[in-house]
């Protein structure tokens, strides 16, 4: 991967006696599309605001190209922000909003015009210069906000849940668009969201946060397929999470049976948790499987059916394209690489052990 542009070192933040960040360490690279993902109150927005310079960390450092900038005011940083509710200047038209940063820098008028027009074209708002920003649709305001930030040619663009206010269809479109813009301008995007689907579909790197702590950093595939703990597994999509014991490398026991798996490096007989994604479980004839149960319910979801199978120890959630009659006796089958073993989480502190 390319060079590190931002390095967060032991970042902590308290608001009063509430600690919202508890020691964040993170490297962000050039040209990376990095997403901070987590439920509300997990500290993702605070992290972003610290990088932007709106908040000062209570402890720790923000290194930008190796220099600590945690005390540098926002107007001296080479980062720009797209705000959650856009925060456009309502008394200015589209052109003046986008030109704001350049005018502050006292740039030549012709150059400003050239840059503004180029950026408006990039975000697909050609011909909107004279429009009143308050009369634009949510999606268009969103684009103005992106253009207003990008026109300053920042090294990093920060996006604080920018798609949150849009409806589902527009959201999908903007996801594609944002990714395209990022590839076109070739700078680092740091994106904050609580929507796991959004995070998985856009990012190069996903950082899952919970209660002020980073839970896992990885590619969307890693995060989805190899969640490191119960929180990540349950936050990223639906899954079956089962308490288990690691007998030895590549052998895990749960629900009275031992199963082969591919995970290594745990202590023998360590208490762990196992996650199996609903689409990784196959429904087979009872005699062909260790786990047996009855179909409890089946709901049609469009592409697949969502089936709940009740077994002796728990209910399993399964996604399949086939139809099974409720009440039917079935067996559940999964291969060694469908089983993901995770460290068991200490819920008291909210962190991974």
């Amino acid at each position: 991967m390319s060079d590190v542009i931002i390095e967060l070192k032991g970042l902590s933040k308290n608001f009063g006696d509430q600690q919202v960040l508890k020691g964040i360490d993170l490297n962000i690279h050039e040209n990376e599309f990095l997403t901070l993902l987590g439920p509300s109150g997990c500290g993702k927005t605070t992290t972003l605001r610290i990088i932007a310079g709106f908040e000062e960390p209570s402890a720790g450092e923000v290194l930008f190209d190796g220099v600590d900038i945690s005390k540098v005011p926002p107007y001296k940083r080479e980062v720009n922000t797209v705000f959650q509710k856009y925060s456009l200047f309502p008394f200015m038209n589209v052109y003046d909003n986008v030109a704001f940063g350049l005018k502050i820098k006292k740039m030549d008028k012709n150059l400003i015009e050239h840059k503004v027009m180029k950026t408006l074209k990039l975000v697909g708002l050609e011909g909107f210069e004279k429009r009143d920003v308050t009369k634009l649709s949510g999606g268009q305001q969103q684009r103005v906000a992106i253009a207003r930030a990008l026109v300053n040619e920042p090294k990093i663009l920060l996006l604080d849940e920018p798609l949150g206010a849009l409806d589902a269809k527009l959201r999908k479109e903007m996801q594609v668009e944002l990714k395209k813009i990022q590839q076109e301008v070739g700078i680092t995007f740091i994106f904050v969201t609580h929507d796991q689907e959004e995070a998985l579909s856009m990012s190069d790197t996903v950082v899952v946060m919970h209660e002020g702590i980073i839970q896992q950093v990885g590619t969307p595939e890693d995060i989805y397929n190899e969640p490191e703990n119960r929180f990540v597994a349950s936050f990223i999509g639906e899954s079956n999470i089962i308490e288990a014991t690691m007998i030895k490398d590549c052998l895990v026991a749960f629900d009275d049976y031992e199963f082969e798996c591919v995970d290594k490096g745990f202590k023998n007989n360590e208490a762990v948790e196992v996650v199996i994604r609903p689409e990784d479980i196959d429904i087979v004839k009872p005699k062909n499987a260790k786990l047996r149960g009855k179909v409890k319910s089946i709901i049609f979801k469009g592409v697949h059916h969502e089936i709940v199978v009740g077994t002796k120890h728990r209910d399993y959630l399964i996604h399949t394209t086939d139809y099974y009659e409720p009440g039917l006796d079935v067996g559940l089958s999964f291969g060694p690489d469908d089983i993901h073993v995770m460290y068991r989480m200490d819920w008291e502190t909210g962190g991974a052990e």
Binding site: P73, P74, Y75, G101
Partner: protein, 265 residues
């Protein structure tokens, strides 16, 4: 339904007559050639001549206008900065300031007036133009704050951040983004402060001295006898205020309509 309406309209006319008849009479008799308040003899500008040649009255007009002007400038700046600073302040401080700010509004003018009178004499400040100006700033600033502060509270708290994010210093963010956003509230505050100051009698009356009088004080001292010169002065003051108010109410509407018209075409 129709009959109903006619009764209502009549009532409204009676009420408005009650408001405007005295004012109208004052205006008409300011053009009377005789001193009488009942017989209109002939049209003359005699009382206006009197007015403009009276050194005392012209001085009072100057005092009223200049104090209103200065008090408005100072209280608008003070009130606006305070309102902006207030919004993110600690809750206790915020409540104390808002409550103290309400004191000059809710307290009877006469109590505010004697309080200032005692204060100025306690610190041996000579009563006159300066004491009057200070007193006017005291009662004008709260009105500016009450009209600006709600606008500050309605602001998107990220607007200042957005400006700074784009490279504006806090001062630039203030002048280029926050103040323009508060424009309406500030204009309302200016209008309130100016007219409050210009109209004030009670407080000015108690805190002035050394022959410094504003229009109200001059009128108060001249009403011992009926004096058509006051009618002339009243007429001018009333016209100036009425025209200002009408312009203030009409111009924004016209401007708005013109803008809408433009954006449609």
């Amino acid at each position: 339904m129709r009959k109903h309406r006619i009764g209502q309209i009549l009532y409204i006319i009676v009420c408005f007559t009650f408001f405007y008849l005295p004012i109208l009479v004052t205006m008409i008799y300011s053009f009377n050639s005789s001193k009488s308040l009942t017989k209109f003899e002939s049209f003359s500008l005699r009382w206006y001549e009197n007015l403009f040649t009276s050194h005392d009255i012209m001085y009072a007009v100057w005092v009223s206008v200049s104090i209103a002007f200065l008090a408005t400038i100072v209280s608008t700046i003070l009130g606006t900065l305070t309102s902006i600073g207030l919004s993110k302040n600690r809750k206790i401080l915020k409540e104390i300031i808002i409550n103290v700010n309400n004191v000059p509004i809710m307290n009877p003018d006469i109590v505010t007036a004697i309080g200032l009178m005692i204060l100025f004499s306690s610190i041996h400040m000579e009563k006159g133009y300066l004491t009057m100006l200070l007193a006017h700033i005291v009662f004008c600033t709260p009105y500016v704050i009450t009209s600006v502060y709600p606008k500050v509270r309605g602001l998107d708290p990220n607007l200042a951040n957005a400006a700074m994010d784009l490279g504006a210093t806090p001062f630039q963010a203030l002048t280029k983004v926050i103040l323009p956003m508060l424009k309406e509230g500030i204009y309302a505050g200016v209008l309130l402060a100016f007219t409050m100051s210009f109209d004030d009698f009670v407080i000015s009356y108690f805190v002035t001295g050394n022959g410094v009088s504003n229009i109200s004080i001059i009128v108060y001292n001249m009403t011992k006898r009926t004096n058509p010169t006051i009618n002339a002065l009243s007429t001018i003051v009333i016209l100036v205020i009425a025209i200002t108010l009408i312009l203030v109410n009409v111009i924004p509407n016209v401007a708005k309509r013109r803008k809408e018209h433009k954006s449609v075409t």
